[in-house]
Symmetry: C2
Subunit: 203 residues, 2 copies
Amino acid sequence: MDEHTVERGDAARNRTRLLRAAALLVAERGVDAVTMDEVAARAGVGKGTVFRRFGSRAGLIRALLDHSERELQEGFLFGPPPLGPGGEPLERLVAFGRARIGLVEVQGELLRAAESASDSRYAAPAYLVSLAHVDTLLRAAGVTGDTRLLAASLMASLDATLVLYQWHELGHPLHRLADNWAELAHRVVTGRGTAESAGGVVP
Amino acid sequence: MDEHTVERGDAARNRTRLLRAAALLVAERGVDAVTMDEVAARAGVGKGTVFRRFGSRAGLIRALLDHSERELQEGFLFGPPPLGPGGEPLERLVAFGRARIGLVEVQGELLRAAESASDSRYAAPAYLVSLAHVDTLLRAAGVTGDTRLLAASLMASLDATLVLYQWHELGHPLHRLADNWAELAHRVVTGRGTAESAGGVVP
């Protein structure tokens, strides 16, 4: 390993450590608590390191969002089933929603901030990649018609703003919200509920 | 008809005229364009009349929102089928979504402003009445399980922010978005699409 490789390895580790510290801060105390000072202290590095890596607080927040969305995207594009390629379309659809709701546990405040701040939230690359994925799975599962609009309707139920409200204000555990997504996906694709609510449809 | 009745009739007519003028202003030029001066000019009354009726610009905006939501509520609670009582639950569900999407045509900017401004949008009385209505219709249509959460998922697809984006930015006519709601409702309740997309489900 030459010196250059060591340096790049350190940089990547630093970056990951800083992003993890920032994500924990967001989860514990909200997006507003994320300052360069706090992140540096939490990660146990100097403030200069944080500025060198991300340029500004806005750059850090952007990197944090990119990071969480990219993990999800890598999961459904390249990861193992049931989320990744190889699984049944309906199972992948259920796994996608569960993973998205799981993201809210750590990144929820950040996702909500992005949703309410952005005029073009429905044009954001991460949203469009997820939308295309859900659309593709619906078609692969045999759904016809305007599956893109149907995908947008389903995606709407995964809004971080809504999920956070259902979790924090209404007291639904996240796994219960994930089960509701599974129920919705099953009904839309097969017309039957999940096994847990068998018999839920009048023919 | 005594003098008092005449006066109350005039007040009600004035109120309706002012609200209509404000709604048109919102539809044409956005919520920010709604000022007491503009509304007075548009309705052909003095500015004092607007202040007497609504107190402030905020009061006017609130009255405008209440007015549009109440019209929808009166439709599904007391109006004729298919929206009102007497129709089949699934037909009423389809009619509800169509009416909600129709509201966006005139009140969309206002509804969007309310959605993004409010921390407690999911606790707003108008939202809760609509949510309870969708929940009731799902159960009446034979859907079992946690229909309240399922209703919230369906309602999410009617967000004015999303509907406006699909209409203005993506160019989908509102009737096409209403058809997508019908498709979603049919699939969730019966497992079949609407007649227009027959054969859209793999058994």
